[in-house]
Symmetry: C2
Subunit: 256 residues, 2 copies
Amino acid sequence: MEKTVVKAIRVLESLALSPRPRALGEIAAVCDMTKSNAHRLLQTLSEMHYVRQVPESRSYEATLRLWEMGMRVFDRFDIRGVASPVLRGLQEKTGESVHLSIFDDGDAVYIDRIDSQQAVRAYIRIGDRVPAYCTATGRAMLACLGEAEVAAASRDMRRHTELTVATPDALAAALAEVREKGYALTRGEWRQGVVGVAAPIRSQSGTVVAGVGVAGPAERMGEDNVAVATRAVLQAATDISHALGFSDSGHAGLPS
Amino acid sequence: MEKTVVKAIRVLESLALSPRPRALGEIAAVCDMTKSNAHRLLQTLSEMHYVRQVPESRSYEATLRLWEMGMRVFDRFDIRGVASPVLRGLQEKTGESVHLSIFDDGDAVYIDRIDSQQAVRAYIRIGDRVPAYCTATGRAMLACLGEAEVAAASRDMRRHTELTVATPDALAAALAEVREKGYALTRGEWRQGVVGVAAPIRSQSGTVVAGVGVAGPAERMGEDNVAVATRAVLQAATDISHALGFSDSGHAGLPS
DNA sequence: CTGTAGATTCCAGATATTGGAACGACATAT
DNA sequence: ATATGTCGTTCCAATATCTGGAATCTACAG
């Protein structure tokens, strides 16, 4: 365990928790270290912009950098925490594996999942990165994002199976269909024999922040099951979006 | 500049900014360090609860600890940032030094100030800690806080000048007067010859989070100027409270 | 079952960190 | 006005800490 790092964090925490700026001596005392040590640590934290010295009193205070970083973390956790129970419900309703993913630099990245109970099941790992243009959650998100994101996703298109939609034009058509229907359906474009249905999740501000989908083996994903899954996925996406504070003023559509 | 600390912060930032959990190798690559190094850093950050390893994929993600700490910082900055322009206005209107302080463990601590332009002026430093029971901003806050805070403030009462209110009973009476009038007025109880007027600031939740006041030499603080200062201080406190999201549903009172 | 990729552990060598002392800047007390 | 004390800052040799490569372990994929 790195002692210097621990000390630095203790110093930073003492400032973050303090309701007022603290003098060097005080910090050294509270954190139980010599003044030179505390001073050097504060110097480093200043250069990293986590701490500043108030010009007037020479004492130190935490900057908003900590908050800035914390907010980034919070955003992500918010989605996972809120989505978690909905994912469980979706898994039970459909019986297949359900995935929650976000869009990152042209790819879809899985941030949560609940596995099917079946012996044959679609399998991914949390943290796995897959091309957005040929996966269900990826395409669902892509359909609601801007030019730049679509361009990023189109950067390195290739056929992963015989069915992969691997040209920008074909992708554009697929995305248009997603926008029209409100959900994305992929049949073995990424992994042979895997069928996926997914829908985009919107945050309070209305921007698409994630995608939720179910995936299962083609043998089980016949018309009936896909119809069930589609309805369930759209409902789940709506539920999660609402939980995030999104209110769909205007259009909304469950397929009849 | 402490290299280990810098590296640790880089690792933490890369995780905070990442929209998804990162694998060890990835982190090492992004932060330009060996895997052993990154691993040790992550171990340390885990023990500090800033990072956790997701059990499923063995990759690492930032925890909410960062957000938790950031929020503490944000609360404080929020007050200062919002109050700053109001303080400037108050200084111009009254011509005296204006102070912004918070309550901390029985004391008032100055977190911002704007000095009078006059040759003779009340002077404090940001970060200075003064007894709450005998200063204007301190008493204004104390009047709106609970038993425990008053007890903390009464722990070590003493006469700092001939006029200091230095008994719990006398303090209780003074606080009752503050509550009735809505502002605190002190005349040379802490520093001889200094007169202060102050009012409490409330946050969105309605709790008193700070106090704002003006202070000047007794020679200039005659009845007329005190009346002007009182009105200005009450207005400033109201303005800052509103800016913090406080809505005074019900009572409100400018002295007629 | 074997191979591969990645995570984790280990350790001697390299070096960054440590703390005391000296210095400088202020501010108050005499 | 001078003295005195407090607090922040700088410096440096001793050394405890950190470093990175290699060995080990684990889990998955073929």
